[in-house]
Structure formats: C-alpha cells, structure tokens
C-alpha cells in the first residue's frame, strides 16, 4: 500500500485550447500527472485550463509542480487559467503569489472566457 494517492489527469483538446483535469491529491508524487501531462500537450496548444475541482488536497510540494508548469507555459508563451480550487486553496495560491501568473476562476466557463 502506498499512502500517497496517485494523481490522475485527464486531458481535453480543442484546437489551441487544452483542459487539464486533475483528480486525487496534488503532492510530491504528482510529477507525472502535472508536468508529464503538460509536456505531452500538442505543440499548437496556446491556452491551458487547469481544473482542480476534483482535487481535495494539495500541499506545497504539489504546488511547486504547478509553479513549474506555469514557468514552462510562460516560457512557451501559453496562457493559463485556473478553476475549481476551494476557497481555502484559492487563498493558498494567492499567498504564494501564483495569481500573478494564472487567474483563479469560480467556474469553467468564467475561466474559458478569460482567454478573451
């Protein structure tokens, strides 16, 4: 038994838009799910939506992986919008400054609309 839950990530593509839907915990064990999934996106991806609505637990090591994703997306000129975080994790993302590189939205449609 491994007490660290495996993170699952489902990906949906739609032209330049990719939606990454995470499930499970986002921790140090989530490297594949977060970065691996990001790195496998097709090169035409310009807009990335991160869906945390099925994630109940994130810790600082998991958030470090999200920051790395934001860093790589930033380098590639991709825009990232985030939704589905609980109010608590919205606060945590804000405390850690991630909101400078991704906006936090209450719903998927609000997040999509933010790409303009």
């Amino acid at each position: 038994m491994n007490p660290q839950t495996q993170t699952r990530a489902k990906v949906e593509h739609n032209g330049p838009l990719a939606i990454l839907r995470f499930e499970g915990d986002v921790t140090s064990a989530s490297k594949d799910a977060v970065l691996g999934t990001y790195q496998k996106l097709p090169p035409e991806t310009k807009e990335i939506l991160l869906d945390f609505s099925k994630v109940q637990y994130l810790n600082s090591s998991g958030i470090a992986l999200v920051i790395q994703l934001l860093m790589e997306a930033n380098k590639s000129g991709q825009k990232v919008q985030t939704f589905g975080l609980t109010p608590h994790f919205q606060k945590v993302f804000t405390l850690l400054g991630l909101t400078k590189y991704t906006s936090l939205h209450p719903t998927e449609s609000a997040a999509k609309a933010a790409f303009g």
């Binding site: 038994m1 491994n2 839950t5 499970g24 140090s28 064990a29 490297k31 594949d32």
Partner: protein, 163 residues
Amino acid sequence: MMSKALTDREQAVTTELRLPSRLGYEKVAMSTAASVAGLMGFTDDRIEDLKTAVAEACINAIEHGNRLDASQTVLVVLSIAENTLEVKVVDRGRGAVKSSVRVPDIDRKMHGEEDLRGMGMFLIQSLVDEAEWVNDKRGGSYARLAIHLDREKEVSDEPSDPD
C-alpha cells in the same frame, strides 16, 4: 493475518492515537480511523461502518473502562498489515467480555423488559469483519476490531511513482 513471513513492505504500519477519557473525543478517533482506512482504499460505506464501530468502542473505553476519569487516557492503535486494518481500543479497566454482546430485542425494549442501552458491542460486531474483547490484566484491556480490504471489489489507488 501475521501468520506468514512478511516482507518489509508488508510489515504492520502503525498509527497511535491517545485520547482523554471524555465523551465527545470518540469523534477524534472516528476521524483518525477514517483517514487511515481512506489511505488503504476502503470504500466510503465501509469507512462509515468502521467509524461507528470505533466510536462505540471508544465510548465504552471512556465510560466503562476508564469510568470517565479524566486522568486516564484511551489508546487507539491502528495497524495496517497487507489488506487488513486492525484497530485496538485500549483502556485501563477490567475489560469487556464477549458474552456481554447482547443482540438487542426491540420488542422487549419497547415493552420496558430490556435496558434501552446495551447496543454498542452488538453494533461493533455487526459492522466490522472481526471483533474481539481481550482482558489483559497487565497492560489494560482492549477491544480489537478488524476490517479486510476486498481487492476484488474495492478499488484502491494504484501505487504512485515513488519519486
């Protein structure tokens, strides 16, 4: 369950909780037990069953074992070995005996012929896979509950990348 030689990976992994003998603290044991069972991949309804069984065992330890003496603690030992989660609820009293498990007779209760209480041990026994009461003259007595993961039915998480 510990009968065959265990590899390192399969050795019992233990979590211990020590509670004050105050009614209400059984809820802390419920949360802790639920969380450990969750790590193992038990389904929500098995976890609900376990929570009620653990609560009843802790209430008995607080009330009957430690007689609400705030200076005594209740020890809850949660051990994972292979597919089994074992919970021992240890108190400082003389312990319960299995023969105290009474199958409640609702008709007799409704007619005042049976104490309205006295349903805890029956509930424990009904809700977990194994229940026994051990009378330990030295170390304190305990209720021992166990539930088994049914790997065929319950979808535990795949082991994740050890990183």
